[in-house]
């Protein structure tokens, strides 16, 4: 079996003491920062990215995967204990998770989230390993027109899944694409929109945008509320291990969530959010035993299933990234940026030219998942302590670590000040109710999209109909249209508004 050869190769790479160390450190740091209230996974990852600069590529990627999973797990811990969803995909976890925590079953809820994520992660890794190869071959059928169409689909997906107004989300994508064009145009060598500032000729750093908008902007916005709406669980968490009845209920739910998540994650356009919402809706439809609390009242299925779906989807969303080189959501866009910093251009060629790296990463994802389970169940006491830290101690530390981190990227103070500038911009976005995640995705995709559009039109001699006449491209664009039509349908629009009503 080729699959097992590949996985064996991957585990051979990942299971060295040094690499296990990096995975462990990544998970620890990711959870440590991710659990802090008011810091979402995007801010966490961008803050921790500079810590990987000095490492060789494989080690850096392994540590990044650890940070990624740690940040996500930390986010759901905060969601359950503080009733504060740090990101869109943990919005549904909050519903039942926090109810369980209030009923004194925080331990079981956290364990359900952890176990659900782990089991889903195992399946997700297998799916990734199975489908990566055939999909990478599909990637070679992709011409520039198809890449362009795929990016349009991804961006439409991001718009559709953004909370709030569709028009605003569209605007943010466009603005992100435009900001991504700042710097030297690869084709003509002309520096665009740099205002003769030498630091801008390389473009605006993605880390600058991410830290500014998601770090500084969030801080300013958080501080503008007078009373922090924090409702930290005061009681001690005990009874971590789920009861037998819990197991009986959550295992099938985890299986359903995993299946749903694995499929939805492959779709470009941010499958993780869609997966957790869909799986929660599915659990609501499934027959409920008479002695079971209803969903929304602290049902363990309502925690386990969306967390499993979320994690399976985040695992399989690596498939479009690694095979086509296209990030399906903002978090993955950050990962692309990180990989390019280490001189790895994600895409179909990584798998053939650099198999240790590819399969090592796949294996280390599984290790990261396992490590989280091992780490977090015993360490949960520490994470809860962190949650009670007052925000007035946290925010100066975040401001500082972002500044040091971004300075270490290029040893350039200009970058520090750019973070400050984007912080102000990010605060404006939040104040005007504009969700910044689609902006980041657009920002990463900007140059890629321009390049592919240029090539597609060059090949067709300027004829735009090439996007409609090439079957693959036409299918992708039709899918984007269908997605758009779907959210504009009145019935679905209503549920979408309901789902995001808390924001």
């Amino acid at each position: 079996m080729e699959l097992f050869d590949h996985l064996a190769l991957g585990f051979g790479v990942a299971f060295t003491p040094a690499h296990l160390m990096y995975a462990l450190v990544g998970c620890l740091l990711g959870t440590l920062i991710g659990v802090l209230p008011g810091i979402g996974p995007l801010a966490t990852i961008s803050m921790l990215l500079p810590a990987t600069y000095a490492l060789p590529p494989v080690a850096a990627l392994i540590m990044l995967a650890g940070i990624y999973y740690g940040a996500q797990y930390g986010g759901s811990t905060t969601a359950i204990l503080v009733n504060l969803p740090g990101e869109a995909s943990s919005v549904v976890t909050v519903l039942d998770g926090h109810q369980m925590a209030r009923q004194g079953r925080a331990g079981a809820a956290l364990a359900a989230a952890g176990i659900g994520s782990f089991l889903a992660g195992c399946v997700g890794t297998l799916v990734l390993a199975t489908f990566a190869q055939p999909l990478a071959e599909v990637a070679f059928l992709f011409g520039p027109a198809e890449y362009c169409a795929l990016m349009v689909l991804g961006l439409v997906g991001a718009v559709v899944l953004a909370s709030g107004d569709l028009l605003k989300a569209f605007g943010m994508v466009l603005l992100g694409l435009l900001l991504g064009l700042v710097g030297t145009d690869v084709n003509s060598g002309i520096a665009r929109y740099t205002f003769d500032v030498p630091e801008l000729t390389d473009g605006i750093g993605f880390i600058v945008v991410a830290m500014g908008v998601f770090g500084y902007g969030e801080i300013i916005s958080n501080l503008s509320h007078d009373s922090p709406r924090r409702d930290v669980l005061k009681s001690k968490v005990h009874g971590l291990w789920p009861t037998r009845q819990d197991w009986r209920r959550m295992l099938p739910a985890i299986a359903r969530g995993t299946g749903l998540g694995s499929v939805l994650g492959i779709l470009p356009g941010g499958g993780a959010v869609m997966a957790s919402f869909a799986s929660y809706t599915l659990e609501k439809k499934i027959h409920r035993h008479s002695d079971e609390p209803s969903l929304g009242q602290g049902n363990i299925r309502g925690v386990a299933a969306p967390e499993a779906a979320n994690n399976a989807a985040s695992q399989t969303s690596f498939i479009p990234l690694l095979t086509l080189g296209i990030p399906p959501n903002a978090v993955m866009a950050l990962m692309v940026g990180a990989m390019t910093l280490h001189n790895i251009q994600p895409g179909p060629q990584v798998m053939s030219s650099n198999p240790e790296l590819f399969w090592g990463l796949v294996a280390s994802m599984w290790i990261g998942n396992a490590m989280l389970l091992v780490l977090n169940l015993p360490l949960i006491g520490i994470w809860i302590k962190l949650l009670t830290l007052p925000y007035r101690w946290l925010f100066p530390a975040i401001v500082l670590f972002c500044a040091i981190g971004v300075y270490s990227t290029n040893n350039n103070t200009w970058d520090i000040w750019m973070v400050g500038l984007f912080g102000v911009v990010g605060y404006l976005f939040i104040r005007l109710g504009m969700e910044p995640a689609p902006l980041l995705l657009g920002f990463i995709l900007g140059p890629m999209m321009e390049e592919n559009l240029r090539r597609a039109l060059l090949l067709s001699r300027g004829d735009w109909s090439v996007f409609a006449t090439r079957p693959l491209s036409a299918a992708l664009l039709l899918a984007a249209l269908a997605l758009l039509a779907l959210v504009l349908l009145p019935a679905i629009r209503k549920t979408r508004e309901l789902a995001f009503v808390e924001d």
């Binding site: 084709n187 665009r192 929109y193 007035r392 500082l400």
Partner: protein, 159 residues
């Protein structure tokens, strides 16, 4: 203003899109078969400006809604965080033009923490100072010892 949030968001898009489209004329636009460096930004800028206009127009026609009123600008955190950021950069590497020598990371951390603390109210000076010292020690261990970042750490006079 009927729906202030949407209106100003539209205005922002309109201004940004217009600026990018305007700037695109400084570069060669080309045509679709041979796109110049100005082609794609012009296209996107016009789309963004059109979208912004649409949003502004839509916001005018709407009835005033709860939660759509613009919250007051949070000047205090905005200024404190920005100032802390700017000062940190200045302290770290100094300003040759003003004969300010690089003071390095340690003074920078203390300054940043104290200024950033002004963002919250009430300001607790003693607590902030303790936090500043803690962060300085922590940063020294993590960034200077463990990660060996190339940063000026202490003040360097006379250079």
């Amino acid at each position: 203003m009927r729906n202030a949030k949407d209106f100003y968001a539209g205005l922002l898009f309109c201004a940004a899109g217009g600026a990018f489209a305007w700037g695109a004329f400084d570069y060669d636009i080309g045509r679709s078969a041979r796109m110049g460096p100005g082609y794609f930004p012009l296209l996107l800028g016009l789309m963004l400006a059109a979208l912004g206009t649409l949003m502004m127009w839509r916001a005018q026609g709407q009835k005033p809604q709860e939660g759509q009123r613009l919250p007051a600008l949070a000047w205090r955190p905005l200024l404190a965080i920005s100032a802390a950021n700017v000062l940190f950069g200045l302290t770290l590497v100094g300003v040759p033009r003003w004969h300010l020598p690089p003071l390095g990371l340690m003074p920078g951390i203390v300054l940043l923490t104290l200024v950033a603390s002004l963002a919250g109210s009430p300001v607790r000076w003693r607590e902030s100072l303790a936090l500043a010292l803690l962060l300085a020690v922590l940063s020294y261990v993590v960034f200077v010892w463990l990660l060996r970042l190339q940063l000026p750490v202490w003040p360097s006079w006379g250079r």
